[in-house]
């Protein structure tokens, strides 16, 4: 990463290749994660989303010794994990926690094995750090188009499913009477989630992938309860976090005399700050809503 930064120094921020790649791939990840994250939180699948990110590290580490694209690795394992989650019963609230835990344990075990193969068969000692914490400035430019395609597929799935998904989140029984198959909707949502998480794992690292998924969406849901508005807010917040993080990491090279801080650190810190600031914003907005139109008797809050 430092070598790359040394190269960047000769150009301005937007003209350097690695920064442009980081901005594009990170931007894709931020947008898809924001949109899918809103549904994920509404369904109470934050743990499952996080687990998919962690488990996808097995794919990332396998890509090192198999010599395939890291995005394909992340995506493949995340999709397999999503299917196992569905099979073990992530939809039933009672089994959700345990099912996610089992898949997470097995997946992390697999990634331990693959990282061990990375260390023994190839001489990539930094594989663990790259896969777990990401290194955005070291992304290969050949990943830009695949990332955009995955992003479009993910967004397409969610926009086609928009109404059935919302209904199945809000009231599964009503959705079933309307002829919506909760099983299929849930499975497609999990697959789209796998795509989003794979993109996030590629940019900020698999352990931190859920920051992009949960953070902006949770902050947005505190500002507004209307899905459309919340999704728009989440996209804005996600993009600000990722692009702001990239910029800060780029600048940090000058602050600490050539010792740049990791991009992922800045991204997560911005997201955490956003979530905390969501509380005062929420109270302000709530007060205004209450003055304008008092909620009917018996509704929550």
């Amino acid at each position: 990463m430092l070598v790359w930064l040394a190269h960047i120094l000769h150009f301005s921020f937007f003209h350097s290749g690695p920064v442009r790649t980081a901005l594009l791939v990170g931007g894709c990840a931020a947008v898809v994660c924001a949109v899918i994250g809103v549904f994920t939180i509404l369904r109470g699948h934050a743990f499952a989303g996080h687990a998919l990110g962690d488990v996808s590290s097995a794919g990332g580490s396998a890509s090192f010794f198999l010599g395939i694209s890291p995005l394909a690795g992340f995506l493949g394992i995340a999709a397999i994990a999503a299917m196992s989650l569905e099979f073990l019963g992530v939809r039933r609230v009672r089994d959700q926690d345990v099912a996610t835990g089992i898949v997470l344990g097995a997946g992390l075990g697999l990634s331990a094995l693959f990282l061990y193969f990375d260390i023994t068969t190839t001489s990539t000692t930094g594989a663990a750090v790259t896969v777990m914490f990401g290194s955005m400035f070291a992304l290969s430019p050949s990943l830009i188009w695949p990332s955009i395609i995955v992003a479009i597929l993910g967004l397409g799935t969610v926009s086609v499913l928009y109404r059935p998904l919302l209904l199945s989140v809000a009231d599964p029984e009503l959705a079933a009477t309307r002829g919506i198959s909760n099983r299929w909707v849930g499975m497609l949502h999990l697959l789209a989630l796998a795509g989003a998480v794979a993109l996030a794992a590629l940019s900020v690292g698999s352990v931190l992938a859920s920051a992009l998924l949960i953070g902006p969406a949770a902050a947005a849901l505190r500002v507004s309860r209307r899905p459309c508005v919340a999704i728009s807010w989440a996209i804005i917040l996600g993009l600000v976090a990722v692009w702001g993080g990239i910029w800060l990491a780029y600048e940090s090279y000058y602050w600490f005399s050539g010792n740049a801080w990791p991009v992922s650190f800045f991204v997560v810190v911005i997201i955490f700050a956003m979530y905390l600031l969501g509380a005062p914003c929420q109270q302000l907005l709530r007060r205004r809503v209450r003055v304008a139109e008092p909620l009917p008797e018996g509704t929550e809050r």
Binding site: I41, G44, A46, F47, G49, H50, L88, R94, Q96, D97, V98, T100, G101, I102, L104, G105, A106, G107, L108, G109, L110, A112, L113, L115, Y116, I119, T125, G126, A128, V129, M132, F133, G205, V207, L208, S210, A211, I214, G215, A218, R222, N259, W261, P262, S264, F265, V267, V268, V269, I271, F272, Y275, A279
Partner: protein, 284 residues
């Protein structure tokens, strides 16, 4: 496999497995698997910080676990429990990424902390493991009934005057202690798997609390021992075997339960659910 350099490993691993099995029973019952995942991962940067400051890793881990517990408790009040756990996890882990980039402790060190380095336990490591396990076990024994009641039937617990907030905090502190103790020995991943997998398997097989509790401890020890043995023979990382054996155990238990319920469905209806409510409905 039982050579002198392995003795410490067996002792430490057994103590950790027993403690994890005991506490894991409540982790699964309370559905706090995410917290049980977030605390070990959140504590992980503590080791890097300790290395940077040149102090014992255990102190760094304890400090980060304390921060993690405090953040979890605060954020849980703000919103959803799972969102709180996720955000605490990524924030602590991001600071870990920063600390790692400063210490240059790349590669093997990170790998050992994440996935465990069971074969290098020294005699000096045994003392903190033993002390903290003893503290946690005494804590669980003292809290057994209120914790069980509050985990299984929150409304009933409130009626009996058990405060949800206090129980929650005490439980998180116990979880944090186990994490800090076990992390340097068995790694982040193993702590989580040992906390969740045996207990989940046990509760799939039995809905009676005491039976499930004992079974959870037995399975935890069995899982740990088999993982060490496999790891010793193949030279592959122990984390892989804990994950693989654990997933196999849980899947077999689910299949067993399915077959048994099919078998019995003609004669009687088996009580389904994590715990049989009948245990608590006796008059006191």
């Amino acid at each position: 496999m039982f050579a002198s350099f392995m003795i410490n490993t067996w002792i430490a691993a057994t103590i950790i497995a027993v403690t994890a099995g005991i506490l894991g029973f409540f982790v699964v019952l309370r559905r706090s698997a995410f917290a049980a995942h977030a605390l070990p991962i959140g504590a992980f940067p503590g080791a890097a910080a300790a290395q940077l400051l040149g102090i014992q890793p255990l102190w760094g881990l304890l400090a980060f676990v304390a921060v993690g517990v405090a953040l979890l408790q605060q954020l849980q009040r703000l919103g959803r429990r799972d969102v709180a756990a996720g955000l605490v996890l990524v924030t602590l882990m991001a600071s870990g990424a920063l600390l790692l980039s400063m210490t240059k402790a790349y590669g093997p060190g990170v790998f050992a902390l994440l996935f465990g380095e069971v074969l290098g336990v020294s005699s000096a490591d045994l003392l903190p493991v033993t002390i903290i396990s003893a503290v946690v076990m005494v804590g669980v024994i003292c809290l057994y009934r209120p914790l069980l009641l509050q985990s299984a039937f929150p409304a009933l617990a409130v009626a009996r005057g058990i405060r949800a907030g206090t129980t929650d905090l005490l439980f998180l502190i116990l979880l944090g202690l186990v994490t800090a103790m076990a992390l340097p020995v068995v790694g982040t991943l193993l702590v989580f798997s040992l906390l969740v997998v045996p207990a989940a398997t046990a509760q799939t097989l039995s809905s009676h609390p005491t039976r499930a509790f004992v079974l959870s401890v037995v399975l935890a020890v069995g899982l740990m021992w088999s993982a060490i043995a496999f790891s010793f023979w193949t030279d592959w990382p122990i984390g892989f075997f804990v994950g693989a054996v654990g997933a196999t155990l849980f899947s077999s238990a689910r299949i067993f339960r399915f077959v048994r319920s099919r078998w019995r469905s003609t004669t009687a209806v088996a009580p389904s659910g994590p715990l049989n409510p009948a245990v608590f409905t006796r008059p006191t």
